[in-house]
C-alpha cells in the first residue's frame, strides 16, 4: 500500500497554505496566508477562488460542520458552513460561498485550532493564551474547559465527548462533564507537541511534535507505538475516518502508516512543511497544506488483499488485478468509479465503489453482480452465504446474488464507528456492540434483521472485540468476545427465552479469530498461540476445556502480534512491525470436525487412535457428549483417563428411558435446570425429585413433590436422614411445616421407589 501524490507545477496560493478540508468526496477547500480561500476539484486539480478574506485575517485552521446522521436518517444540513480560526484571535463561521456569517472574539493572541464534535452540537477552540473553550453551534461561548500556561497547539474530540488537547510536551484528556474526575495527563513527547488526533472508531490517539517522532496511544495514555526520530519535526497528522490508517506530514515528507504505527510508505514531495492533512470521508484520498503554497493531493493505491490462493491488488483508482497463485492466471477488473473498499472471503469478492457494489464469485471474474449504493461504504463484513455493508446511515445485509436481505437496527446505532472488532456476521446472525454502552451486544436474525431477543446481551465488562462462529446449526451459534480486561468469553446466542450463558475461556487474550470452515477458535495469549479445537466444550464439560486446546509458543511472532485470519489449517498473523507471518496447525482437528459433523463416529475414533493426541481425544469426548453419542464418549473419555466420567457414562447407558439418559447427560454437562426440564417434559417427576435430593437442593425437591402431589414423604424422609447424618436440626421453615403432617415410613417409601423404577422400566418396554 502506498500513496500516489499529485502536485501542480506552480503553487496556486501566493503564500503558505495553512489549512485544508474536504467538502465532499471530490472537493477540497484550502486557505492560505494570502487571505484567499480556494476550492479544488480533486479530478482536475483545478482551483477556483471562493473568496478573499479581510487583510487582517491570517487563518490557522478550518473544520467543516459535520453532516449529522440521526437515527439512521441523513440530515443534509442546509447550513453548510465551516469554522475558521485566525491569528487575530477571532473565530469565524463561514458559509460554503465564503461569506463570513459570524465573527467571535475567541482568544487573546492567535486561535490555533477548532474542531466540531461528531454530531455538531459543540465546537472546541484552543489558542495561544492556553485556553480551551467550548462553543455552541451558533458560536456562543458555553464554557472555558481549561486554562494553561502555554499555548495549546492542537485539539481533538474523543468518542464519548472527551476533549484531547496538547500542552507543551503533555497530552491532556478532559471530560466535558463538569466536576468529573481529574483530567488524564501524561508526558507524551520530548519536544513540544504540534498535533494530536483521536479516532472515534478504534479509540486510539495519535500525536506528533518537535522531537521528530509520532506516537500512537490508547485512550488511557498507554503508548502503543513510538516512531524512530526522523530529520524534521512532525507538523501534521490525521487518522482516516475508519481508523485503519493514518498519515503523518513533516518537511517535504508524507508518510502513510498502519493503525499499529508501522509505516506503509514514505513519500518525499517538494512541498515544504505540510501543515495540515485531511482525509476524505471514505478514507482513500487525502490532501495536505504545504508550506510553499502548494496543495498536495494523494490517494491510496496498491492496497493488497490475500485470500487462500487469490491475491488482489488495487492497481489504480479504478482497477483491481487478481492473481490466482495456484495456476498463475491473472484477471484485471475495471470499475466505472473509484474503488472505496474491497473484501474477499468465502470465495466471493465484494468491491464497493463510490456509487456501486460489485460482487464477484472466484469462479467467474467476468460477470459480477452489481447494485447501486446510496452512501459511501465504510465496512464490508462477509459470511459464507451473505455479506454486510456498513455506511453512515446503517447496516445492510445482501446476498451474494446482490439481493437486499435486511437492515438490522437499534435505537442509538452509530454505524459510522463500527469496525471488524465491533460487528460480526455469521450465516444466520449479526452481532453488533453498542457504542453508548460498550457492555451491550445487540444480536439480530440475519435474514429478517429482527433482534433475537428484547434485550441485548449484557456483559459485565466493556466488550472490545466480538466474533461469531461460522458453522454448525443456528441453535448452536456461539459468540466469542473479549472484554476490557482482555478476558475471552464464549456466549450462547440463541437462548429461547432464558438468559445468555457466558463461559470464560481464557485470560490475557490479545487477539482471536474463528476458523472459516470449522468451529475452531484461535487466540493469542500472553506469549502463547492457542487453538480451541472445540470451544463448545465449555458448555458440555468445562473441566475438559484445558485438554481440548493445542498450543504453541508465539515468541517467534514478536511482541503483541495480531491474528488476521484463520483459514483452513493456516493462521496469518501481523507482527507489530507490520510483517505478515503464517503458521500452520495440524490438519487432524479439521478432519475430526468433518467426521463428527457428518456423524461418522467410528471414523472419528479411528482417527484419534491413529493420531494419539490428548487434545484430539478430549475434543472428541466433548463432541460425543454434546451429541449424546454415549458409546463414542465412553471410548474417548477412557482414552484420556477420565475414569469417573467413563463410569458415569456407563451408568447413563444402563438407564431405561431416553429422557432419563438425556437428563443425565445434561447433568453431566453441569446444567441441572436443563436436566429438570427434560425430565418433567418426559413425565419423570420422581426422577426429577430424586435428582434434586441427590444435589441437596431440598427446597426445589419439596416444591416439585408438592406441585405434583407425589413423594412428599420421600423428600421428607431423605431430608431427615441427611439431618441425622450431619447431626443437624431442621431449620428450614417449609420442611418444619410439612414434616408435622407426614409420617415417614421407610418401608413405604422404598416400596414406592421400587414401584417408580418398575414403571420406568415398563415404560421403556412399551
Amino acid at each position: 500500500m502506498r500513496l500516489k501524490t499529485s502536485l501542480l507545477k506552480e503553487p496556486k496560493h501566493q503564500d503558505i497554505t495553512c489549512c485544508v478540508a474536504w467538502t465532499s468526496a471530490d472537493e477540497v477547500y484550502s486557505v492560505s496566508d494570502d487571505h484567499v480561500i480556494l476550492s479544488w476539484n480533486n479530478f482536475t486539480s483545478e482551483a477556483t477562488k471562493i473568496t478573499q478574506l479581510p487583510n487582517e485575517v491570517f487563518p490557522t485552521d478550518i473544520h467543516w460542520f459535520p453532516r449529522t446522521t440521526v437515527m439512521g436518517k441523513q440530515q443534509s444540513s442546509a447550513s453548510d458552513f465551516f469554522a475558521l480560526t485566525a491569528t487575530d484571535g477571532r473565530l469565524y463561521l463561514v458559509s460554503r460561498t465564503g461569506k463570513i456569517e459570524k465573527k467571535v472574539e475567541a482568544h487573546r493572541g492567535a486561535v490555533l485550532s477548532a474542531r466540531w464534535n461528531h454530531d455538531g452540537t459543540a465546537l472546541v477552540s484552543v489558542g495561544e493564551d492556553g485556553q480551551v473553550k467550548i462553543w455552541s453551534r451558533s458560536g456562543m461561548l458555553r464554557s472555558t474547559l481549561s486554562q494553561n500556561s502555554t499555548p495549546v497547539y492542537s485539539v481533538a474530540w474523543g468518542p464519548d465527548n472527551n476533549v484531547l488537547y496538547t500542552n507543551g510536551k503533555n497530552l491532556i484528556i478532559k471530560s466535558l462533564q463538569a466536576g468529573n474526575a481529574k483530567p488524564l495527563q501524561w508526558k507524551a513527547h520530548d519536544g513540544i507537541i504540534l498535533k494530536a488526533d483521536w479516532n472515534a472508531v478504534n479509540n486510539l490517539i495519535l500525536s506528533g511534535g518537535e522531537d521528530c517522532r509520532y506516537r500512537v496511544w490508547d485512550s488511557y495514555g498507554r503508548q502503543l507505538y513510538s516512531s524512530s526520530t526522523s530529520e524534521y519535526p512532525v507538523t501534521s497528522l490525521a487518522w482516516t475516518p475508519d481508523g485503519e490508517l493514518f498519515a503523518v506530514g513533516s518537511f517535504s515528507t508524507l508518510r502513510l502508516c498502519d493503525k499499529a504505527g508501522w509505516s506503509h510508505a514514505l513519500e518525499k514531495p517538494a512541498t515544504g512543511s505540510i501543515f495540515n492533512i485531511a482525509w476524505s470521508v471514505d478514507g482513500t484520498q487525502m490532501v495536505g497544506a504545504c508550506g510553499n503554497g502548494h496543495v498536495i493531493f494523494a490517494h491510496i493505491i496498491e492496497r493488497r488483499v490475500e485470500w487462500k490462493q487469490f491475491e488482489l491488488v488495487v492497481a489504480t483508482r479504478k482497477t483491481i488485478l487478481v492473481r490466482n497463485v495456484t495456476d498463475d492466471s491473472r484477471e484485471k477488473l475495471d470499475f466505472r468509479d473509484r474503488i472505496v473498499k474491497l473484501s474477499m472471503a468465502f470465495n466471493h469478492l465484494v468491491v464497493a465503489t463510490t456509487s456501486q457494489c460489485y460482487v464477484y464469485s472466484s469462479k467467474n471474474w467476468n460477470t459480477p453482480m452489481i447494485f447501486d449504493l446510496k452512501q459511501s461504504v465504510s465496512l464490508i463484513v462477509q459470511a459464507e452465504k451473505h455479506f454486510l455493508l456498513v455506511d453512515s446511515i446503517g447496516i445492510s445485509l445482501y446476498s451474494y446474488e446482490g439481493r437486499f436481505l435486511s437492515s438490522p437496527k437499534y435505537v442509538g446505532l452509530r454505524a459510522n464507528v463500527l469496525n471488524l472488532q465491533t460487528v460480526s456476521l455469521s450465516n444466520d446472525t449479526v452481532a453488533v456492540r453498542d457504542k453508548a454502552d460498550e457492555k451491550l451486544v445487540y444480536l439480530f436474525e440475519a435474514h429478517s434483521g429482527k433482534a433475537l431477543s428484547d434485550k441485548p446481551l449484557a456483559h459485565k465488562m466493556e466488550v472490545v472485540e466480538l466474533a461469531l462462529d461460522q458453522h454448525g446449526p443456528m441453535s448452536e451459534r456461539r459468540l466469542a468476545l473479549i472484554d476490557k480486561n482482555r478476558d475471552l468469553y464464549l456466549a450462547t446466542v440463541r437462548t429461547f427465552g432464558t438468559a445468555h450463558k457466558v463461559m470464560k475461556l481464557a485470560v490475557m487474550i490479545q487477539s482471536m479469530s474463528w476458523n472459516d470452515d470449522t468451529n475452531m477458535l484461535a487466540a493469542l495469549q500472553d506469549g502463547r498461540f492457542t487453538v480451541w479445537v472445540y470451544p463448545n466444550t465449555a458448555f458440555v464439560d468445562q473441566a475438559l476445556l484445558p485438554k481440548t486446546i493445542t498450543e504453541k509458543d508465539s515468541s517467534e511472532f514478536g511482541k503483541n502480534p495480531f491474528i488476521i485470519s484463520f483459514l483452513g489449517n493456516h493462521v496469518t498473523l501481523r507482527r507489530v512491525d507490520g510483517s505478515l507471518v503464517t503458521t500452520g496447525i495440524t490438519p487432524y482437528p479439521a478432519i475430526l470436525h468433518g467426521y463428527v459433523s457428518s456423524a461418522h463416529w467410528d471414523e472419528a475414533v479411528r482417527l484419534c487412535r491413529f493420531v494419539k493426541e490428548t487434545f484430539l481425544w478430549a475434543s472428541l469426548a466433548a463432541m460425543a457428549a454434546y451429541a449424546k453419542e454415549l458409546a463414542t464418549a465412553e471410548v474417548a473419555y477412557a482414552a484420556i483417563d477420565e475414569a469417573d466420567k467413563v463410569n458415569y457414562i456407563q451408568y447413563i447407558k444402563e438407564l431405561p428411558s431416553k429422557e432419563a439418559r438425556n437428563a443425565e447427560m445434561a447433568l453431566f454437562g453441569g446444567s441441572p435446570q436443563d436436566a429438570e426440564g427434560i425430565l418433567l417434559q418426559g413425565g419423570l417427576v420422581f426422577r426429577a425429585i430424586m435428582m434434586h435430593i441427590n444435589l441437596y437442593s431440598w427446597d426445589r425437591a419439596l416444591e416439585l413433590a408438592l406441585k405434583h402431589k407425589t413423594h412428599v414423604d420421600t423428600v421428607l424422609g431423605f431430608r431427615q436422614r441427611y439431618l441425622v447424618k450431619f447431626n443437624k436440626s431442621e431449620t428450614n421453615k417449609r420442611f418444619q411445616q410439612y414434616a408435622e403432617g407426614v409420617d415417614i415410613d421407610w418401608a413405604k417409601i422404598e416400596a414406592k421407589i421400587e414401584m417408580e423404577e418398575q414403571k420406568e422400566r415398563e415404560g421403556k418396554r412399551k
Partner: protein, 137 residues
C-alpha cells in the same frame, strides 16, 4: 662711439637699455633673451604635461574598466562558489531523502523476508507431515 657708450651709461642709469638692433629696452638684453627662452621652455613643458595628463587619463579609465571587469568576474566566481555550495547542500538533502526512502524499503524488505521465512517454515512443516503420514501408512 663714445657718444653711444655715454648714452648707454645714461640709459642704464635710468634703467633702460638698448639692444643689438638699437631698440630701446626696459630689460637687459641678456635677461630678455633668457626670459623668452624660459617662456619657450615653459610652453614646451605645459604641452608635455598636457600630453602626460591625457595619457594618464587614458590609463586610469583603462584601469577603471579593468577593475570593473575584475569585480564582475569576482562576483561571478563568488556566485559560482555559492552555487556549488548550495548544490552540495541540495545533493545532501536529496541524499537524505533517498536514504530515508532506502530505509523505508529496507524495512519493507525485512517484513517480506519475515513473511517468506514463515512461509518456508510452514512448507517444511507440511512436507514433514506428508512424509510422516506416508511412513505411517
Amino acid at each position: 662711439m663714445v657718444v653711444i657708450e655715454m648714452a648707454d651709461d645714461t640709459l642704464v642709469a635710468v634703467g633702460l637699455h638698448l639692444d643689438d638692433l638699437k631698440r630701446l629696452r626696459v630689460l637687459e638684453p641678456d635677461v630678455a633673451q633668457e626670459t623668452s627662452e624660459l617662456k619657450e621652455e615653459c610652453k614646451e613643458f605645459i604641452d608635455k604635461i598636457g600630453e602626460f595628463q591625457s595619457i594618464v587619463g587614458g590609463f586610469i579609465s583603462m584601469v577603471d574598466g579593468l577593475s570593473k571587469e575584475v569585480e564582475k568576474e569576482k562576483m561571478k566566481a563568488i556566485g559560482a562558489r555559492n552555487l556549488l555550495k548550495s548544490i552540495t547542500k541540495q545533493r545532501e538533502a536529496q541524499q537524505q531523502q533517498l536514504l530515508a526512502l532506502i530505509t523505508e524499503k529496507r524495512t519493507q524488505l525485512e517484513r517480506l523476508r519475515l513473511q517468506y521465512d514463515a512461509l518456508l517454515k510452514v512448507e517444511a512443516e507440511q512436507t514433514d507431515f506428508v512424509e510422516q503420514y506416508l511412513l505411517q501408512r
